[in-house]
Symmetry: C2
């Protein structure tokens, strides 16, 4: 799916030429951006607000496989992954810097595809690209994104604010990105064994898109503002529900009770997990990369939130000594353990 549509060599442009070429169509739209690309540093104005900074590294062969990842989607995803962290603070992302390391043999048109995805994401979410670095890489494609945003000091949602009795909520549905990845990996395996067989992803658009082109949940932050609910804690689901709820409980010095039957799982995720012989709940707990928001709210906010279509209450916060538990559909109590995605562990 990686098409070499052109032959322009990056060497011809050089580093500054490449930066200029790739960023020339990015407009500065945000009122808080004073100066973007083109000087030693970007200049931003956050007066009256607090500044938020988050950063992520995406590495070929670890975080993505170019065999089935279109570069446009990869650029889009690299931005979403970072915006998601700013939303998880209840903030508004406003700028990003993007650094890339690429083989000098990578055609310019391929890098342009990557930046097209970046620009589509930036435009859709009102983000200014304000800096970055490009380098030759001997080692496959490297993408490092830093996102910058702002938040009113009284509206910041840390991970450590969950209180006993608070309701645990999650946006959207979980496990789809993980099972989408399993599907892509399987089709890649079949293709490698027999290049005559075309990938069969028919009818699987939703889970493939969850993996390749996730959306950060700006809309959920807006809904919460509209209905007047300020979460007591919040985190984005990048490493699986289990890992994230444990972060909240650990940092808030609390325990939790989650109910398996409440965990939102899309029917396509459910059916495909079953096809693969994987428990769909395990996909939700340990799969990761869903980029949904997991947050806690005061019980008194229940009435405000109960009719929000895309928010599900999946449990509640307990005292620390009660531990972190999942109540299964058959009402068995399981201790929640983090088995989230760890790039340092050998994968199965």
């Amino acid at each position: 799916m990686f098409e070499n549509k052109g032959v322009t060599e990056i060497e011809e442009l050089g580093e500054f030429g490449l930066i200029e070429h790739l960023t020339k169509n990015f407009k500065i739209n945000h009122p808080f951006t004073i100066r973007g690309v083109g000087d030693d540093a970007a200049v931003l104005n956050f007066e009256g607000n607090k500044t938020l900074i988050s950063t992520d590294l995406l590495l070929e062969g670890i975080h993505f496989d170019l065999a089935y990842t279109p570069l446009k989607h990869l650029g889009y995803k690299a931005i979403q992954v970072n915006l998601s962290d700013i939303y998880a603070m209840n903030g508004t992302p406003s700028q990003v810097t993007v650094s890339i390391g690429i083989s000098s043999k990578f055609p310019l048109e391929a890098v342009e595809e990557l930046y097209l995805g970046i620009s589509i994401a930036c435009e859709k979410y009102n983000i200014d690209l304000v800096g970055g670095d490009t380098s030759s890489s001997k080692q496959g494609l490297i993408i490092s994104v830093t996102s910058i945003g702002y938040v009113d000091e009284n509206k910041i949602c840390y991970r450590n604010g969950a209180g006993e009795g608070d309701l645990i909520c999650v946006s959207g549905d979980l496990g789809g990105a993980y099972i989408g990845l399993q599907l892509l990996e399987r089709e890649k395996g079949i293709y490698l064994e027999n290049p005559q067989i075309q990938p069969n992803l028919e009818g699987k658009d939703y889970i493939v898109e969850r993996q390749l082109k996730p959306e950060s949940r700006k809309d959920i932050i807006e809904v919460l503002r509209d209905i007047g609910v300020l979460p007591t804690s919040m985190i984005d689901v990048s490493d699986g529900l289990a890992s994230e709820i444990l972060h909240i409980c650990k940092q808030s010095d609390k325990g939790c009770k989650l109910y398996e039957e409440k965990i939102p799982i899309d029917p396509m995720t459910y059916d495909t997990a079953r096809e693969f012989g994987i428990d769909p709940t395990v996909c939700a707990l340990n799969g990761g990369e869903d980029y949904e928001l997991l947050f806690t709210i005061k019980q008194s906010d229940y009435e405000k939130i109960k009719n929000s279509a895309d928010i599900t209450i999946i449990g509640h916060i307990t005292e620390k000594s009660a531990g972190c538990n999942l109540i299964s559909k058959s009402e068995i109590v399981h201790e929640i353990k983090a088995q989230g995605w760890n790039t340092f562990k050998s994968k199965n």
Copy 2:
């Protein structure tokens, strides 16, 4: 020089364990840091000032060679390179994020050495480490640093403010980092051919240090403040004097005249360049990685600056149509061309 002093495997710690382990001794000192490592994003307070952001990517095999780069120095340098960009805006760096990609076979003790260098640099320059990302890498060591700082709006030094007649100044001396690199590369070559021969770097401390452990010029920014000189434009010398003065001239829409005899070159740089059969002026113009500050000042500030020991006036800004020229010691006029370090070009 890369010593494997230990055998703790990073796999044992996992990603979160590794971040916690590496960052636990970093203290938050800066009054502008509200929250550092440990949430989805860092929270910073820049009220009353403008925020500066800069980012750099350092890749093994492209930007550094672990055969002769101690990891502690590499960590130190990774920070300096980024602080330098904030100083070049006449700003004060206050925070950094550091992301690393490392082989899972890299011993923990090696990563600790890297972070030791990072922490020494942070402490010395009063910088808080407020975030980052760690990942396994199949592709050698990857370091991505984003530096964040602040500046009074009226004190920002962009690249585009140079005016006709302004004096062109540079801090310290140039070309040392480049010739230090040549020396290290030569000794590595000799060692690889005959491992019995130990590297001979005796008496070459200064240029080796310029390459392996550069310092960003915080002191120059302080001197300029003390003597009441606000540069009309400024940039740091990361890609060589030629490349940097062309950035200033291009963005300011001006030309320049530099005088070869004025370019500050340390005697050890000069002598070693001669040993290698390289013109020392070429090292200064095209060598890069000196991390000195190149800036322009109004002629009326000459009296204030003339006695600053570590600042040299090397030329002046002209109208654009006069072009960008170097007047050689024999008074021949050469057009300045950028031949700075370009990672996308094959090196000689």
